[in-house]
Symmetry: C2
Subunit: 487 residues, 2 copies
């Protein structure tokens, strides 16, 4: 266990009584101020002392205004949770800005229990911990105040308590405590490893001894109060270390052969063949409970919509959905930018197409300055972890960049000006965006270099010739589905 300072871990009844009214008022006032602040508070309560942690939780509820706390205890997962990637249930319960979420056991308890019960191998345990570090880091980076308290009862005290319970058969100690007690030795190294591995500079654990409940409760409440007051006083959290300056990696876009073409007749023949194949494969994936997540990015007028129509045209309407990514709602804005994609993660067997995606963070938000450099720079890692979780859950994740050159774009803009479809209206904005072509090229190249992973590969599609691009995407999609169905 990380050492705690050797201080007095007892508080007298008098001291406790004297501290209570002032502490309570300050906590409630901090909650009041938090409502208009632009960050959420995430409190994780975990430890080896179930009883002490429960008492602490009750005490925090007593002292604070419960209307502005969301407490999450996580009973056995529902279908909707079990059938989605593991962290979905935690992401969906994250508090918006201005609110406090208390997580009782949560991802820490789940991971430690799974390892003790051998549901996780040593390697799986370490990988889970990696996701947890990432998950907690994501929240911190996004501005959340994350506080983690480990409620610790020294083994000697634990033994004393259980012996006493044995004599008195108190209502407070139940079977679960006995189980925890009997497995203390087995649990200790797992907890120790978990604590060490998740005790990072930005998301440290505060270990609080619970031999004396008054000490434990007062210590946590004071720590929580002090942390909130510091943040509310405008002390910004330490700025995340940005990635090393300019990206000088591969220029992937320049290698795309924009001359690729397909003859009209060949197009018709191949398109039909692929659509029939896709229809069959998606039906099989549906049966097998395999979800597919496609992300389409590309230049304006590169033909994303046309490709998507060729895919959906092959599928029964009941099997797929298309999610256009537009401006976030205010609920979405009040959360981490990945939250709105987590909430759309499909159930098994679904086929979901994102028309634009989470890559907006490192494309339009980067180029237009909507995201700060530190924000879009750390997004690569966040996105990789997000996609890896989907892939580990068995989903097929594919990403497409539809690539054209500026001349072709101009031709298409002019053609669109002739069409009766209102959605193809070309605005001054569209023309202005062309001035930023080089900035987007840099952003795309860095994005591809940093997020082209085995779990979720990028495909750069030459799209100057629409027929070629459509058949190419269908080709890739069919191949990937076939491979996934065989594995």
């Amino acid at each position: 266990m990380p050492e705690q300072a050797k201080t007095n871990t007892r508080v007298s009844k008098e001291e406790f009584k004297a501290a209570e009214p002032g502490l309570r008022m300050e906590l409630v006032n901090a909650q009041y101020d938090l409502q208009s602040a632009d960050f959420p508070v995430v409190v994780l309560i975990m430890g080896d002392d179930r009883l002490g942690a429960n008492r602490l939780l009750d005490r925090l509820h007593e002292w604070m205004d419960v209307r502005y706390i969301d407490t999450h205890v996580f009973p056995p997962a529902t279908d909707e949770e079990r059938l989605r990637p593991r962290f979905w249930r935690y992401w969906r319960e994250l508090p918006p800005k201005g609110r406090i979420g208390i997580y009782f056991g949560a991802w820490a308890l789940g991971t430690i229990a799974d390892r003790i019960n051998k549901d996780l191998s040593k390697r799986q345990f370490e990988r889970r911990i990696e996701h947890i570090r990432r998950f907690e880091q994501d929240q911190i980076d996004d501005g959340a105040l994350v506080l983690k308290y480990w409620i610790h009862l020294p083994p000697k005290e634990f033994a004393r308590r259980m012996k006493k319970a044995d004599r008195l058969t108190t209502a407070q100690v139940d079977d679960l405590d006995w189980e925890i007690y009997h497995h203390l030795n087995k649990a200790e190294p797992v907890s120790r490893r978990y604590l060490e591995a998740t005790d990072t500079a930005k998301t440290p654990w505060t270990v609080v001894e619970s031999t004396d409940p008054r000490y434990c409760q007062l210590t946590v409440a004071r720590s929580l109060l002090a942390s909130m007051q510091t943040r509310l006083a405008g002390k910004t959290p330490s700025i995340p270390t940005p990635k090393p300056g300019v990206f000088t990696g591969d220029d992937a876009l320049s290698k795309v052969n924009l001359d690729a073409k397909l003859e009209r007749n060949e197009y018709k023949r191949k398109l039909e063949k692929r659509q029939v194949q896709l229809n069959k494969l998606v039906g099989q994936a549906h049966q097998a409970g395999i979800s597919t997540v496609l992300a389409f990015e590309g230049w304006d007028a590169a033909g994303k919509g046309g490709v998507i129509r060729r895919i959906t045209g092959a599928l029964a309407a009941a099997y797929y959905s298309v999610a256009p990514v537009a401006a976030p709602t205010d609920e979405e804005k009040a959360h981490h930018y990945l939250w709105r994609f987590w909430r759309r993660i499909p159930m098994p067997g679904k086929f979901v197409i994102f028309d634009r995606s989470w890559y907006g963070r490192v494309l339009v938000e980067r180029v237009e300055g909507f995201a700060k450099p530190a924000e879009w720079q750390r997004a690569y890692d966040e996105i990789n972890d997000f996609e890896q979780q989907l892939a580990e859950h068995g989903m097929l994740v594919l990403k497409f960049w539809m690539h054209i050159d500026p001349d072709e774009q101009l031709r298409r803009f002019k053609a669109r000006e002739q069409t009766g479809y209102k959605k193809y209206k070309i605005t001054d904005e569209d023309y202005r965006n062309r001035d930023k072509w080089d900035d987007y090229v840099a952003a795309v190249n860095e994005m591809v270099a940093r997020t082209d992973t085995d779990a979720a590969p990028w495909h750069l599609i030459p799209a100057n010739d629409k027929p070629y691009a459509r058949v190419k995407v269908l080709d890739i999609l069919c191949k990937a589905l076939k491979k996934r169905l065989k594995s």
Copy 2:
């Protein structure tokens, strides 16, 4: 079946081909315009021709921009859906303003299938239909464009199709169609009754014959387009009939005995006794999977918060949650006003306290003019149906109005000005609200008269004396829980 006009129900291939491009463009353009409109579109597709309905759905997806359609097919319910009141799964999938939701079978199919399989008695079937009428009416009243298409294949045609399928064993006709075919006679009277009962002036069915798929598809698409265009052109839907003018019912508030008092010592004794009792009862309800939903309303400074603290103080933090009802988010504003309460309906065994509630519609929104008279007047029926559904699902629903007189309120305002709790800050607004006392009295009296039901009774609590009020609420709550646990 409601008669359809005896028109030609065939469309030639040439006519179809000729109509397609223009229809497609107009549909997509209507979708484009819809995005900035202030109403959603709900399309229910149902019928006796599964195959024809599926083909229709695919065709609508082909013709329209699928990025702006949410199609819901409703596979078997998940835990989260099954464990909540029946209509939760439909409410949660309602489209926000500016989007189209297509519901395939949905509540119509579920109800008809349940009746055919005898999962619903005749009486239960009729009651379900009542909820459906209400549900569809709610959406219409809130401004949604609701369109219902019944895809009908005459029995003779059905027989012809199945005979042909028997010979050819086509891939399109499957076991389900055979099942439907074999039960046509049994299904017909159920479908007929369903159609008749849900064919209201505001939510009529359009029955479309599907002998010729081209006719069916063209007819529905044209109807959908025409309906959207009419609404987009600013033709407001017919105004719902308002309730008869002024409410002259009971003056329930005047009968509350505001002199009710409790001595300090009696208060302490009774409070503790009730809290112990409540703790036990809520534990039992949790075990039994019974949810409790409490709604607290009352004058400013009437002591809602204090009562809620006395309730939560008796409960383990893990068992309950308190939901403060503040301004809706923009996602909530884009839906029916009850949507934000539907989304918070708890899983079984939970204890949820609403600090202010859906009654805001007929209180502050009425008095301040935020809701139009037609809106708050129809809200009584909407709310009664909502609460009845919760009760039918086994939830305990109780509503409390905390009542004080204006003098007592003034005394409390003055006292609050002395406190260190920021949340009790008194503003000019609070004083201004006092001018509307009589309007609120009228609103409360009408609310109580119209929504005090067996399923969800109102309790008017004399709250000039805080101790009395707190013990009274705990009394009522304990009694109701005890009764519910016995039933």
